[in-house]
């Protein structure tokens, strides 16, 4: 009898430990930052400094943790989803059809022989770059930042786009916010279609994308929410409290940042 009780208790202990281990972690709201007079479209961190593209005001702003504007870079033409590389900000300018590079206050353009029509997002991964070419309904991709290939055309089928607004690169994949097809599309580095994510979630304008080691984040602009999927496309979490017309998300130092075009607020979340 004693043995039976012992076995039962041991089994209970093992089971409860296992249950504890399997409790899924979630992103939990940490704080809300409220920069004044900013309508952000894109977010990126350059050497731990938070930069926002402020499309309505044709500028980039660097803000501190309290939301104060530390510095601004003006005279840009509708800057969109930005990224960084080697101490420089890479800024797709919707209005000039160019990718602006800003480093130590100096401005230049990324040389691309192909002509863009309203570049809405850029992604950089090591030496690789990808650009969401909004009105041309295609993605430009470069392995080395100098020679480019493109894939996609207007449409709703696999591998086709309806106004792509953002892009992200990982080790062997290219992830696209296919905004007005209301889905995420995933491609290999040759531009071959691999996977569609989020079509069943009835998104309305999937405008900004970020991909971490195990999660895919997308902004559902018109529905005022952020959807978080695993890499297989299973929905893990939805964030909607305080979200109003979200345009971009990123994860920096294990903190998730979401930006809202309408109210200008930035929510930060921690995994708990």
């Amino acid at each position: 009898m004693k043995k039976l009780v012992l076995i039962f208790l041991t089994a209970l202990l093992v089971f409860s430990c296992k249950q504890q281990e399997e409790t899924p972690k979630e992103w939990v709201l940490k704080e809300v930052i409220e920069p004044a007079g900013v309508n952000p479209i894109g977010i990126a961190f350059l050497e731990n400094a938070m930069w926002l593209s402020d499309g309505d005001h044709n500028r980039l702003v660097q803000i501190d943790d309290a939301g104060t504007i530390v510095q601004a870079i003006d005279s840009l033409e509708r800057p969109m989803h930005i990224d960084v590389k080697d101490g420089a900000l890479y800024v797709p300018e919707y209005g000039t059809d160019q990718i602006r590079i800003i480093k130590n206050g100096e401005k230049s353009f990324l040389p691309i022989s192909d002509s863009l029509d309203a570049p809405a997002g850029i992604a950089i991964y090591k030496n690789e770059m990808a650009i969401a070419d909004f009105y041309n309904n295609r993605i430009l991709y470069s392995k080395d930042g100098t020679s480019w290939m493109s894939f996609g055309k207007e449409g709703q089928a696999e591998g086709e786009f309806y106004y792509p607004t953002d892009v992200h690169i990982t080790t062997d994949k290219i992830w696209v916010a296919d905004a007005y097809n209301n889905r995420i599309q995933v491609f290999d580095k040759a531009g071959a279609f691999l996977q569609e994510i989020g079509k069943d979630q009835k998104m309305n304008a999937a405008t900004g994308i970020f991909v971490s080691n195990d999660e895919v984040f997308i902004t559902d602009f018109e529905n005022d929410r952020i959807l978080i999927f695993d890499w297989e496309g299973n929905l893990k979490q939805e964030l909607s409290d305080g979200i109003e017309k979200p345009t971009d998300i990123t994860v920096h130092n294990e903190i998730l940042y979401t930006i809202n075009y309408r109210n200008g607020k930035i929510q930060t979340y921690k995994m708990q």
Binding site: D56, R78, Y94, A118, A179, N204, A205, E222, T247
Partner: protein, 206 residues
């Protein structure tokens, strides 16, 4: 003293030049509804920027105030401006042109008066997605003679209209709405009009 004279002359010349330049440009102001999405709104601005000679393009997404200047000798008409806005998928509410010679032209705002004692209120399902859809649906419904007010709700997808039943009917209002590209419970938009809607307005067909 010499410096003061030079500065005064330069400022005077700049003022004269500026006044001359303004006198050769017509000023356009269009009130556009449903500019909530920056990707589309910047697109409207970009499309107008492609017009050769256009200057001082300014767009305020919050208020829907869209302004630009265009060379007076090209005589850009009110119809052409409204058509260009609609082609880009937007709904112009009112428009004002101040010609270089001072003449002012306006459009929109006029509406047939409706007898308040005869009003009927009804609601019907209309398909749509966003603020731009809302503007288009409300404008199409309001344009029907006999309609007093029209309000479409983005969340419930219901259009509520009050109208003089002796002048028009709910079905007539639905027909006008579907002509603008939106399916209603009883009428369908034609494929061409639907396809011309901006990306964010591509709702699931009823």
């Amino acid at each position: 003293m010499n410096k003061t004279i030079i500065i005064t002359l330069v400022i005077g010349m700049m003022t004269m030049f500026s006044a001359t330049a303004q006198n050769t440009m017509d000023q356009f102001q269009v009130q556009v509804d449903g500019l909530g999405c920056p990707f589309c709104a910047y697109g409207l601005e970009k499309k107008f920027n492609e017009l050769k000679g256009i200057k001082q393009v300014k767009i305020d997404i919050e208020t829907g105030d869209f302004r630009f200047a265009y060379p007076a000798d090209k005589a850009l008409s009110m119809e052409a401006v409204l058509s260009q806005v609609e082609k880009a998928g937007y709904t112009p509410i009112t428009a004002k042109i101040t010609r270089a010679n001072g003449k002012v032209e306006t459009s929109g705002g006029a509406k047939t008066s409706v007898d308040g004692n005869q009003l009927t209120q009804q609601s019907v399902m209309v398909a749509g997605n966003c603020g731009m859809c809302e503007a288009r649906i409300n404008k199409a419904a309001s344009s029907v003679n006999g309609v007093n007010s029209a309000a479409w709700d983005k969340d419930s997808k219901m259009l509520t209209v009050s109208f003089d039943a002796s002048v028009t009917s709910l079905l007539e209002i639905e027909k006008a709405v579907s002509k603008s590209g939106h399916d209603t419970k009883n009428t369908k938009a034609n494929a061409g009009t639907y396809n011309d809607l901006p990306g964010c307005c591509k709702y699931e067909r009823l």
